[in-house]
């Protein structure tokens, strides 16, 4: 992976270790996220990718090592000060895997307005921004709905809207297509494809190999808290033994009518 | 035990809102200090949980089912102050949105269940559990006792509130305007149901949940166990606050006694020795004196010194009945509040004066 030494990485993770409840979630992790690229964090459940996202968003802090954001250290103390926190929260937006924890406001409108209100935008600006975002995501008809009356697809659209309304430079997405029906999933994927070549840096964690080629320019592969591979999606997808080892694919067994048993890695390659 | 609108007079409701307000205020301050930014998400979600727990139908010994409030669990896991707020919020939503409990009586319901319930549950749990290990079975028993005591204390408060309604609030023809039954009916009626079913439900739930957490995640029980790092003891710090905590059960006891003083009216007869000079010539009073003195007839004339001294001082509220108050029960209660209030005020002044004097001495030295 080549990197222009003059470009400051958006996130620079240096030798980070993070433990949670006696379990080592990340160990000795080092990687850099360059600006403007779409990155995929690949790994099975529990491999540490969600934890990394939380660390990148300043929601948890490493025991050892450090993380910098655009050259500035991302630490608990720095996030206490409003001068650092407000710009950081506006520039980095995170979409969590479980939409219910992110939809904590009584109505969709309130939810999308939460971020701007927290950043203390004036009332007119908040109302205008919310209205615009609801239209862009085509959820204006949902604006007075309560979150528990939304389908999973609608919930994910609202969570996206509530993050995008602040126009962040960096988007962190944790398993965005999980629990979605095929139609909603493909809408989400279209959205992620649409970010290609844009100004935003996108970091998506997923274990769905089918979508990696579409949504990412580069991948990092995780296994039990360690980085085991990095490269373009094409490069990674070719390494079938690595994929099996990291539980990203499974050996699919089927029995033919003749009684023969075939075993081969299960992958759906498709071209766009 | 959710009291609907119409059972308590507006003045009773107002008094109970007034009584709840300081507890709500103190609870919010203390919880804010401990939880800081986590206050909103934690209390919201906890209030939602308390609401859902109140909707659980619990199996009881004997094959019946009942509902519990979960006040002991809330007090044990979250501490009494967070419990006060979480349960008050749950009760508010039940009352306003689901119509379970009245709007005017919300203050009363919060006082009985959220405030008295949480404080009694916490006090009983701490007393009964002592310093035993988080996983000891004594804690399960303590939780059971805490739940049982809390619910019955709440029920008792509600019963007293019901029972004083017909005493104070009647229409011109004498018909009670609100809850119609006097204390002598209200207390047994409320307590029978709660000493049995509701108390059992609370007992079963509190014991069961504490036992469950002992098996799965004992650290959740840390907050109300002494010597733990995250406990309120460490965080509170200041001297006068810890003193407040030790005397708090006394305050609660005093408050409860204040509320219950009208019960004194039910007592028959006179206290031995508390007779005035005039009673010696009153036939009825003489009968009571005799009854109280093992049927010994009192002398015909009062003792000479008694007569002389009794003219020295006329009490402002003779017979605990201020002249401007017409009903004896109100007079009784007012006298109790006035009396205790005066004592408390004097002690507080004396205490702060003593504190000042001590402080000055420290300064000088």
């Amino acid at each position: 992976m080549t990197e222009n030494p003059m470009t400051v990485p958006v996130f620079d993770v240096r030798d980070v270790t993070f433990r949670y409840h006696q379990v080592t979630a990340l160990e000795g992790l080092s990687l850099a996220i360059p600006p403007g690229k779409r990155i995929a964090l690949l790994g099975a459940n529990g491999s540490g990718k969600s934890t990394l996202l939380r660390l990148l968003d300043g929601l948890a802090f490493p025991e050892k090592g450090e993380i910098t954001f655009c050259g500035e250290p991302l630490s608990e103390e720095r996030l206490q000060s409003p001068e650092f926190a407000y710009p950081f929260r506006r520039r980095v937006g995170m979409v969590f895997q479980n939409p219910d924890i992110q939809l904590f406001s009584p109505t969709v409108f309130d939810e999308v307005a939460f971020g701007p209100l927290q950043l203390q935008w004036p009332k007119d600006k908040v109302l205008a921004a919310v209205k615009e975002m609801l239209e862009a995501m085509r959820i204006t008809h949902l604006k007075d709905r309560s979150p528990h009356h939304l389908s999973t697809g609608e919930k994910k659209r609202v969570t996206l809207a509530s993050v995008l309304v602040l126009d962040p430079e960096v988007l962190l997405l944790d398993e965005p297509t999980s629990a979605l029906d095929p139609k909603s999933a493909s809408q989400m994927i279209d959205f992620l494809i649409g970010l290609r070549g844009g100004a935003k840096t996108v970091v998506t964690s997923t274990h769905d190999l089918d979508i990696v080629e579409d949504i990412a320019d580069e991948c990092f592969v995780f296994q039990t808290g360690r980085l085991v591979a990095a490269g373009t999606p094409t490069e990674i997808l070719r390494q079938t033994s690595l994929l099996e080892q990291t539980n990203l694919t499974h050996a699919h067994r089927h029995i033919h009518a003749t009684g023969e048993t075939h075993s081969h890695p299960h992958l759906h390659p498709h071209k766009h | 035990m959710h009291i609907p609108d119409g059972y308590l007079s507006p003045s009773t409701c107002a008094v109970l809102y007034g009584a709840s307000a300081p507890f709500w205020y103190i609870a919010l301050q203390r919880v804010k200090r401990i939880l800081t930014t986590r206050l909103v998400p934690l209390l919201s979600v906890m209030a939602a949980l308390c609401f859902v727990i109140m909707m659980f139908n619990l199996p009881l010994p004997g094959g019946t089912t009942g509902h519990a409030v979960g006040v002991a669990i809330a007090a044990i896991i979250l501490g009494p102050w967070a419990s006060i707020i979480a349960i008050s919020i749950a009760l508010s939503i039940q009352a306003v949105f689901f119509g379970d409990g009245g709007i005017t009586t919300l203050g009363a319901n919060c006082f009985n269940m959220a405030i008295v319930g949480s404080l009694v549950a916490y006090a009983v749990y701490r007393l009964a559990a002592g310093k035993t290990a988080l996983t000891s079975s004594r804690r399960v028993v303590a939780a059971a006792l805490a739940g049982y005591a809390a619910i019955n204390a709440s029920a008792f408060c509600a019963a007293v509130e019901f029972g004083i309604q017909p005493l104070f609030f009647q229409d011109p023809s004498g018909a009670p305007l609100y809850a119609p039954y006097p204390v002598s009916i209200a207390i047994p009626a409320m307590m029978i149901g709660h000493l049995t079913f509701a108390g059992l439900a609370e007992l079963v739930l509190s014991a069961g949940v504490v036992a469950y957490f002992q098996r799965t995640n004992p650290t959740l029980l840390r907050l109300t166990a002494p010597g733990n790092v995250a406990g309120e003891e460490e965080i509170a710090g200041a001297d006068n606050q810890s003193m407040w905590r030790t005397v708090r059960p006394l305050w609660i006891g005093l408050a409860l006694l204040l509320v219950l003083t009208p019960l004194g009216i039910l007592a028959a007869g006179t206290a031995w020795g508390e007779w005035s000079a005039r009673d010696y010539s009153n036939l009825h009073a003489r009968e009571q004196m005799a009854m109280a003195s093992r049927n010994t007839a009192p002398p015909v004339q009062p003792p000479r010194e008694l007569e002389r001294l009794s003219s020295l001082w006329t009490a402002p509220f003779p017979q605990y009945a201020p002249t401007f108050v017409r009903r004896p029960a109100v007079g009784y209660a007012l006298s109790a509040m006035f009396g205790s209030g005066t004592i408390i005020l004097v002690s507080l002044i004396a205490g702060s004066l003593a504190g000042c004097a001590r402080g000055k001495r420290h300064e000088l030295s």
Binding site: T107, L119 | T36, T37, S173, L177
Partner: protein, 269 residues
């Protein structure tokens, strides 16, 4: 299992009530058009008037007004009967029933056979209790059925309820339904796995474990929600956006209700 079934039935009832409220809040009626702040203040005043009245007919008049409001807001009497009047009558009826026999006063009738006396005062007090309960319950349910809950909460600000409490009430309400769903899933899955009946102690253990699991999930949930709030810039302050606008109709209704309440206070004293 008895307690499982009943608990699930209770959950369902709560969810249905919320759905009824949401449907009716969208209907085209008088109350639905009014500013929520006017409704909150107005209904509160009327409830207090009904609670303060010392005369039965005054309470009845307030109840009649409540019926008028209901009729003009597309709230059907059947719904009110099912949700409010009958449950309240049963609950308060049982409590009020002994009153005519127990309260001392002028005897107006004797029960044939047993000869138990009914007093006028007892009948009156039962009357006061039942009418007050029904009137207050009708008024508060009208508020809820005609206004989305979130707007009711925002309207509470006019009563000087602190913003932090309004936010907590809103968030608690939202998560009640999530927790109800979790609890329902948990109980239904246990029910489907149960073969035959459980004995008493096992039943109780099951109930306690259900609550315990729910509590653990809730604590976990609160941590997650907190993270999500932090990620969107939350630093401890809560803000609220409201867009209430009063129209002429609001002021007219407010004046009307205030006048009615004043009359009720005067005649009912």
């Amino acid at each position: 299992m008895n307690f499982l079934e009943r608990t699930l039935a209770g959950f369902l009832n709560a969810v249905e009530h919320a759905l009824d409220a949401e449907d009716l809040a969208k209907a085209n009626g008088l109350l639905q058009c009014l500013d929520p702040r006017v409704k909150v203040i107005g209904i509160l005043i009327l409830v207090i008037a009904a609670a303060t009245a010392h005369k039965l007919w005054v309470i009845g008049a307030v109840f009649a007004f409540a019926l008028l409001l209901a009729a003009s807001s597309r709230v059907s009497p059947l719904l009110l009967g099912r949700r409010v009047w009958i449950p309240a009558l049963i609950f308060t009826g049982i409590i009020a029933f002994p009153a005519p026999f127990v309260i001392p006063g002028r005897v107006v009738w004797r029960l044939p056979g047993l000869g138990w006396p009914l007093t006028a005062q007892g009948l009156m007090s039962a009357g006061y209790l039942v009418t007050r309960v029904e009137t207050a319950a009708t008024l508060s349910v009208l508020l809820i059925l005609s206004t989305p809950w979130t707007r009711v909460l925002k309207a509470l600000r006019v009563l000087r309820v602190p913003v932090v409490l309004v936010v907590i009430l809103g968030m608690a309400y939202r998560y009640i339904f999530l927790l109800l769903e979790s609890a329902r899933d948990m109980l239904e899955s246990r029910r489907s796995r149960m073969v035959g009946k459980l004995n008493g102690p096992d039943n109780r253990r099951l109930a306690a474990a259900s609550v315990g699991v729910l509590m653990s999930k809730t604590l976990q949930l609160s941590g997650d929600v907190y993270s999500a709030m932090l990620a969107r810039g939350f630093r401890g302050e809560v803000y609220m956006l409201d867009d209430f606008q009063t129209a002429a109709l609001d002021w007219i209704m407010l004046v009307l209700i205030a006048a009615l309440a004043a009359a009720a206070f005067y005649y009912g004293r």
